[in-house]
Amino acid sequence: MLPFLIKRLGFAALTLFCVLTLVFLIVRILPGDPALVILGDQASPASIAALHKRLGLDQPVLVQYGQFLLQAVQGNLGNSMVTGRPVSEEILAVLPYTMELTIAALILGVLLGVPAGVWAAVKRNRLPDYVLRFISLLGLSLPAFVAAIILLMVFAIQLRWFPVISAGTGETIADRLRQMALPTIALALIMMTYITRVTRSAMLEVLSQDFVRTARAKGASPATVVWKHALGNCLIPITTVVGLYLGILIGNSVLTEIVFSRPGLGKLILTALTQRDYTLLQGMIVVYTLMVVVVNLLTDLTYGILDPRVQYK
């Protein structure tokens, strides 16, 4: 277990290092001087030089790279070029909104997707199966912003069940939940379609195996066979898909946050892009990658909890 953990952490660190390097290169290679972007075309050479000095852009590239890496390891992602506040502060201020949205969507997606997939597999090639397969294909084809807009139009604008704007600030918990409901559902629908598809295919494979027949033969009830014996053996592929799509979910939350005017990483990265705030942008890319790397690590560790046969090498 420990050697595996060390190896896995080493691999995660290597990936992060490569990402940091890539981010550094991309931001430096880009045409355009950040100082000009910040100060405008009319800036005097003296003020440009002063800003270069403040941003460290007058140093040789290798020195800049070393400083960037050293600071990133210490959790210092530099200061925003626009607001001057530390990038890590800017990100931490909105991170909880994106996290709560993503986790809520993940839980809802699993709660809906797993039973739907099991049901489709049990009712294979009958009506529920066809309906669920069609729905999941539809969900797979629905861009996140289209799902969000449809939900917004129906439930917030027409039916007025939920607020149009989800500012993330609510007086009571009920308020907060009401604001979170639509963005969560919009993301969860997409998560659900992926989970339904993988659960169905994993269940179909497991249900045809000998141990399921044995369980039936010894008189276990159909529900026990399906939900305990069969589903228990589907958890690994389901976890893989959950881990794989959690990253996509985090990325897609950008779209949901725009549609519902919700604060979060998505809103922040758009601000960084429109204001050409390169330090904020590079910090955000590092944070996004860090999240994906952590999710992958957690996914790998979950395998061992779900299946005692998994050996960590």
Binding site: V19, I26, L137, L140, S141, I149, Y288, V292
Partner: protein
């Protein structure tokens, strides 16, 4: 010498095997093919099918509802939605297909070389691919387009970049299963060069899986392009893109919801069609997965 003796029978075999393959495709695959073909034709003949000019503005017709003059209504500048939808299909299809074509070629070549050569090259190539995979693809595409500028070429490059690792992985896995087969050993024994074995003998065996991947990723590429345009990182206005049209519609959602819904349905239709084709092709090349899709 071997080539000349084998050659005569090959074309006949190939033709009948293609026919057999097409016979295996299910109805929903054909629906997908039909939708894509229809949209390709609509894009090609956009000038003939359009009822207005895509850039023609008219203050009188702002937010007009669907009717006899504007079949699908007009947008906030009084531009005809039906016309803009037709022209928008050109960009969705061009960007989606070119991006995946680039990713397919680059990714497959990288993956095939990594899988065939093995060793250090394999480790380095695949580590680079894993780093690209560590970015959420929408965020990566968004950052690339924002930094490079939202031109047609840059959007294609950005989307191709996010899709390349998927092709590299599937090509590598395919090559590794084929690498030690007897026919490859026979090729080696006959002294064929590495590239010849790889691209003329192994490639046909892994191509079906790559093609399935391509049609599924075509769906993702169209969705990503639309998402980028919705965020504001698509082709600059007044170019009609479906994602950009949804964005315009979203700004006017309280006064005219058809503006957002009609292009949304167009995106959904195209993405769904590519997914139907991908699912159908996968079932056809691997019947074991038929019920597992």
């Amino acid at each position: 010498m071997t080539d000349t003796t084998v050659a005569p029978s090959t074309p006949i075999d190939r033709k009948s095997s293609i026919r057999a393959f097409l016979g295996q495709l299910n109805a929903s695959t054909w629906i997908g093919v039909f939708i894509v073909l229809a949209l390709v034709l609509a894009a090609i003949f956009a000038p003939q099918l359009a009822t207005h000019s895509p850039a023609r503005q008219s203050i009188m017709d702002q937010l007009a509802l669907p009717g006899s003059q504007f079949w699908l209504g007009a947008d906030q500048f009084g531009r005809d939605i039906w016309t803009r939808l037709l022209y928008g299909a050109r960009y969705s299809l061009t960007i989606g297909m070119s991006a995946i074509l680039v990713a397919l070629v680059v990714g497959t070549v990288i993956g095939m070389i990594a899988g065939y050569v093995g060793g250090r090259i394999d480790i380095i190539f695949m580590q680079v691919m894993d780093v690209v995979l560590a970015f959420p693809s929408l965020i990566l595409g968004l950052a690339l387009v924002a930094l490079m500028g939202a031109t047609l070429t840059n959007i294609i490059i950005a989307i191709a970049f996010t899709a390349t690792p998927a092709f590299a992985r599937i090509a590598r896995a395919g090559v590794i299963t084929q690498r030690d087969r007897e026919y490859v050993q026979a090729c080696r024994a006959m002294g064929f060069s590495g590239p010849r074995i790889l691209f003329r003998h192994i490639m046909p065996a892994i191509l079906p899986e790559v093609m399935v991947m391509a049609s599924l990723w075509m769906a993702t590429a169209v969705r990503t392009e639309a998402s980028l345009a919705f965020i504001g990182l698509g082709l600059a206005p007044p170019t009609p893109t479906w994602g950009g049209m949804v964005r315009d519609g979203f700004d006017n959602i309280l006064s005219a919801f058809h503006l957002a819904i009609i292009p949304s349905l167009a995106i959904l239709l195209l993405v769904l069609a590519f997914n139907l084709i991908g699912d159908g092709l996968r079932d056809a090349i691997d019947p074991r997965l038929k019920d597992a899709s």
